[in-house]
Symmetry: C2
Subunit: 289 residues, 2 copies
Amino acid sequence: MNGPAGGPVLVRINQHLDQLRRSERKVADVVLANPRGVVQMTLAELAEAAGVSQPTIVRFANAIGCDGFHDFRIQLAQSVALGVPATQSVIEAQDDTATTVGKIFDFSITSLDHVRRHLDLDAIGRAVDTLASCSNIVFIGLGASGIVAMDAEQKFPLFGVPCSAQIDTHQQFLAASTSRPDTAFVAISNTGRTVSILDTVRVARERGATVIGITGGPSPLAELSNIAILVESLDNTDVYTPTISRLAQLVVVDILATMVLLRREESALEDIRTMKTRLSRMRSGMPRA
Amino acid sequence: MNGPAGGPVLVRINQHLDQLRRSERKVADVVLANPRGVVQMTLAELAEAAGVSQPTIVRFANAIGCDGFHDFRIQLAQSVALGVPATQSVIEAQDDTATTVGKIFDFSITSLDHVRRHLDLDAIGRAVDTLASCSNIVFIGLGASGIVAMDAEQKFPLFGVPCSAQIDTHQQFLAASTSRPDTAFVAISNTGRTVSILDTVRVARERGATVIGITGGPSPLAELSNIAILVESLDNTDVYTPTISRLAQLVVVDILATMVLLRREESALEDIRTMKTRLSRMRSGMPRA
DNA sequence: CACGGTCTTGTAAGTTTGCTACAAACTGAA
DNA sequence: TTCAGTTTGTAGCAAACTTACAAGACCGTG
C-alpha cells in the first residue's frame, strides 16, 4: 500500500539498531526520542541535533532501507501520521489525559494499518464467495470475539440470508450439530486455540458446513478451517494495553458484509436504502411519517 | 496532534477547490487523481504532470495552507498514510477485492484519526473522574451502540465496580428506574436522538445518577447528559459504507476503561495480570496448570 | 469596441538543500 | 608499532525549492 518493504520506519529503525555504526546510532536515538520534531528538520538541522556530519545522516537513511534523506523524511512523516505502535511504547500511570488518549488511538490505528498490510486478500475473496452462495450463516465467538460475532449478526440485512450469532458454548455446539452443507460457519477466536471452539468447529465440518476461521495468526483453528482469515493484530502483552484485536476483526467483518452485498442485485440495495430511511424515522419516534 | 490546522491535506484541497485559480486547479486535479504517486514526485515533475510552471505549484501549496512545497509534500504523505477518507471516495460494485478492502480500511482509519483530533479531552477527564468514584455502572445502547455497551460491560475488571449493559428498551428503563446517585449511567447513541434512550436518560437523571452520553455530535442526548462525549465519526450516507461509528466508540470505551484502571492501586493491576494468565490457561483447556 | 486596471501565470535568477567523492581519523590485529 | 580495514568528516557539486519580476489574460468601464 505505502512505505516500501517492512512496515513503518520507526519499527524498522528499532530492528536495525544493532547493525548501525556508532554515529548512526546517535542519529537513531534523536529520531526515536522525538520523531514528530525530526519530521520538520532539514538534513543539516538533524546533523546538528545528533552531533554528527551531514553524510552520516544520509548513510543512516540508507542503512534503514530508505532511498536517501528525502525518502527517509517522507516515510518518517507517514509513520508519525499513523502514530507510535504499541510495540514501541507503553501506557504509564503518570501520563496525562492527552498522552494516554493519544497512545490508545495510536495503538488502534497502527494496529489497523498493520492488518491492512498483512490481510490475505485471496482468503477474503474465497470467504465472500462462500458467504454469498450459502443459505444460512452461523457466527460463533467467546468473550471479545463474541462481541464481534454479535456485530456480524446485526449485519444480516447485508448478507441477505438468515444469520445467527452464538456466544455460549452449548448453543455453539448445538448450532454446529444442526448445520448443513449449505451452512457457512464463521468461527472467531483471536488465539485460535480455545478448545471448545475447536471442538465445535470439528462438528460443523463433519456436518459438511464450510468453516471460515477468523483468528489472530497461525493456529489450530486456522488449520481446521476451510478458509482461514488471519488478522494479525500487534497486541502487546502490557496490562494497560486494551484488547485491540477486536477492532481489526470488526473491520474484517465489515469488509465481508460489504463485499457480499456488492454481489447482490440492485433490488437488494434498494431494500437497504428503504430500511435505513425507515430506521431513522423510528428512532425519532414518528412511525410511517 | 499532527498536520497543522484543519485535518488532512486531501480534505483541505477539496474544501479550497473553488478558491483556487484555474492553473492551481489543474494541480489539485492531478493531486486528487493520484495522491500516492504525487508523494514521490519532485516539484518539477509535478509541474510537468499538471502542465503548469513551477511557481504555480508553490502558490498552490500556499493556497491550501501549507508552508511551501516541502511542507505540502510531507503533509500529503501523512494524509496518504492514513488513507482516503470516506467523504472523498465511494465503494463501487466494479472495484476488485484489493480496492474494496483498501477503501474500507481507509475509511476506518481516517475516521479514527478524525476522532483523535476532535475528542474533547476535558470531557474524557470528567467521565473518568465519575467512573472511578461511582459504585456501579450501567451501559445502555441499541443496535450497533448496543454492541458497544456489551463490549464495555466485558471490561468490568478494569472499571473495578459492578457493570451491566442493557440492550433492550424495557431493561434499560428498569435499570434507569433503579439507579442511584452513586450510579454512573453511560448512554451510547450515535444519533443522540433515539426517543426511548432519551426518555430513559431523563429517568436516570431524576434518580440522581450521573449521566455520561457518548454520541456522534451535538444532539438532545448531549444536552441531557451531565458529561457529553462527542465522537464525530465522518460516517457518510452511502449504502455500502459500513457503520464506522462503532469503531471510534469502542476506542473511546477502551480509553475510559484504561484510564480508570490507571487510577486504581497497584494491587488491582496485579489482579488483572493474574486474571489474564489464568484466562489463557483456561482457553487451552488445562485448568490450574 | 477600445482601454485601463487587476489578477493570473510563466521566465529567470537566487538561495537553500541534499548528495558524493575523497581524505583524514580511528580501530583492531599481527 | 605498524598496517589494513572500517568509520567519519570536509569540501565541492548538482539538484531542488523559492522569490522577484515581467508578460499576458481577463474583466469591467468608458
